[in-house]
Amino acid sequence: MKNTKARNASGYMFLTPWLIGFFLLAIGPILVSLYLSFTRYDMVGDPRWTGLDNYIYMFTRDRRFWKTLEVTFHYVVFAVPLRLIMALGVAMLLDKGLRTIGLYRAIFYLPSLLGASIAIAILWRQLFSIDGVVNQVLAVFGIQGVGWITNPQTSIYTLIVLAIWQFGAPMLIFLAGLRGIPKDLYEAADIDGTSRLRKFYAITLPMLAPVVFFNLVLQIIEAFKIFSPAFIISNGTGGPADSLLVYTVYLFNEAFKFFRMGYASALAWVLLVIIGLFTAIAFATSKYWVHYENERD
């Protein structure tokens, strides 16, 4: 009896910093946020209960809400798959036992590391400006460039290209995954005369499925949360005709520019639900295409 108490004591002692943080910075705020989403709060007075007003407005009258969903989904749907395909492709290229793999790995990973920084956002804005590098390169091929950022149709693609440029992080995870596939599976396939294509989708992909799944979920969650590049490139406005108004920028402006804290909280909760739904769907469907190897001999 006493032993359990003593064990608990030391366990909780070590857990204390996290426990405090969990309640004060996680659970507490989540619940408060939920509460605030049903109020009107501009930081001056006290929050005023408005019931479902925020949500009703959001779904029925707020055109910008739907615009930001469209922009964000557009971004996620393009950025995540393209980035993962790039990551897998380059990982497979590098996996063939190159001696200089370390160097290439570092080169391709560097953009991932720097990508979230303001410096890169600044850079990107200039690369895609009307007289920027991208248009200059296109001019070499005789193609007339456009104002990528000032044109509402194309601005989101500057963000998507930035995301693809940062394929290094998922690439590293894929590299580790590829290394985990036993070599003799491929050898057995060789003896059976399997084509390279068949080896890829009959062995490589299925064996990588857990890693692909993990990467996919992680990347989707990250993509929904994109902020700095969109903010900087659009100068905090959300871009021409709201074409860069990703969800977090919209949320940020509602909260800290217009001080509509209640509404912003509602937006935050909708984001949470969307991310939760995506994750749940991913996990639910994973049973069908992810096979975990259970090494029990």
Partner: protein, 363 residues
């Protein structure tokens, strides 16, 4: 049918040569076992035959056709891997059918072969399961099944039983032997376990450091080992080895064997030898009998039920092992007299090579 000719086969990794000028002929329908300590090159050789490793030097020919440039899938062979190499996400049936699908065989034929192999190996109830639901022995049978369905002319086995526990290994050995009896196809089998080699092989190739030490039937290797290495490698418990010198001259020459004293040299032994190694198998040494005797103190007794293995310390400090089926129990510390007959000795020269003797002269 498949017969192989390996000519001057060599293997190097960069500047490091691990095999050089290896020559071997494998006859159709035999069960050839490549055996040797780890690192001797047996797996490398097998993989070169399979087409999974580059042949740096020399040629390997199957049925007269040089296969150096032929990819593995066109050599009409199949291979069973040590780790089974089953595709974890496919059912057993799909695992068995996978290779055949590459050959664009029609569905009915594939199913027929899969069912046949499953019947032979008694894995029919497992066809719908996934590899992770199988035990080690079942996985091994599926791996063997996968190689059977191809109906190859040559079977290759790379230490297939190493991952199994002892009891299972014995069982699978029997099954492999009966499989061979049934199919009678050429089989090349790699193992480090000399018991597997002795029980399964029609011929054994003993390898060490990339060189063939001896090729022969299990009997030949056991009764006429070509050198000290083979003598020590084949047979368990390990053969006893004693240093001996030739003393005297002319017809008065004697073999001076340390603890055993001196005794007459076998006739016909060349004058050139004066330092020899005498080897005697543990079962050839008997207590209280034999023409050449010595005495020692029992150090360890291993009682196995059907037989007893006794380790004794000889006066010179060396250890002698003998094996007996007799019922009397030797006790540690007691002195015992043991001996062997000249007909049971194997003589090796100063370089470790076998000296053939006229055994017919000795009873």
């Amino acid at each position: 049918m498949a017969e192989l000719k390996l000519r001057k086969v060599g293997k190097s990794y960069g500047t490091l040569s691990v095999m050089h000028d290896l020559n071997l002929e494998i006859h159709d329908g035999e069960f050839l076992v490549l055996v040797g300590p780890s690192g001797c090159g047996k797996s490398t050789l097998l993989r070169m035959i399979a087409g999974l490793e580059e042949i740096t030097d020399g040629t390997i020919a199957i049925n007269g056709k040089v296969v150096n440039d032929l990819p593995a899938s066109r050599r009409e062979l199949s291979m069973v891997f040590q780790s089974y190499a089953l595709y974890p996400h496919m059912s057993v049936r799909k695992n068995l059918a996978f290779g055949l699908q590459n050959l664009k065989m029609d569905r009915a034929e594939i199913d027929r072969r899969v069912d046949e192999a499953a019947r032979i190996l008694q894995i029919e109830p497992l066809l719908a399961r996934k590899p992770r639901q199988l035990s080690g022995g079942q996985k091994q049978r599926v791996a063997i099944g996968r190689s059977i369905v191809r109906e190859p002319q040559l079977f290759l086995f790379d230490e297939p039983l190493s991952n199994l526990d002892a009891e299972l290994r014995v069982q699978m050995r029997v099954e492999l032997a009966s499989l061979y009896e049934r199919l009678k196809t050429t089989m090349i089998y790699v193992t480090h376990d000399q018991v597997e080699a002795m029980t399964l092989a029609t011929r054994i190739v003993v390898l060490r450091a990339g060189k063939i030490e001896q090729v022969g039937t299990p009997e030949e290797l056991y009764t006429k080992p070509a050198n000290l290495f083979v003598a020590g490698f084949i047979g368990s418990p390990k053969i006893n080895m004693f240093e001996a010198t030739v003393t005297g001259s002319g017809s008065q020459r004697m073999l001076e064997l340390g603890d055993f004293g001196a005794y007459a040299l076998p006739p016909g032994l060349s004058e050139a030898h004066n330092r020899l190694t005498v080897c005697v198998r543990p079962e050839a040494i008997k207590p209280e009998s034999g023409a050449i005797q010595t005495e020692g103190r029992v150090r360890l007794v291993e009682y196995l039920g059907s037989e007893t293995i006794v380790h004794i310390d000889l006066p010179s400090g060396k250890t002698l092992i003998f094996q007996t089926h007799q019922m009397e129990r030797h006790r540690v510390g007691e002195t015992v007299r043991v001996g062997f007959d000249p007909g049971d000795q194997h003589l090796f020269d100063a370089d470790g090579q076998r000296i053939s003797t006229e055994e017919a002269l000795f009873a």
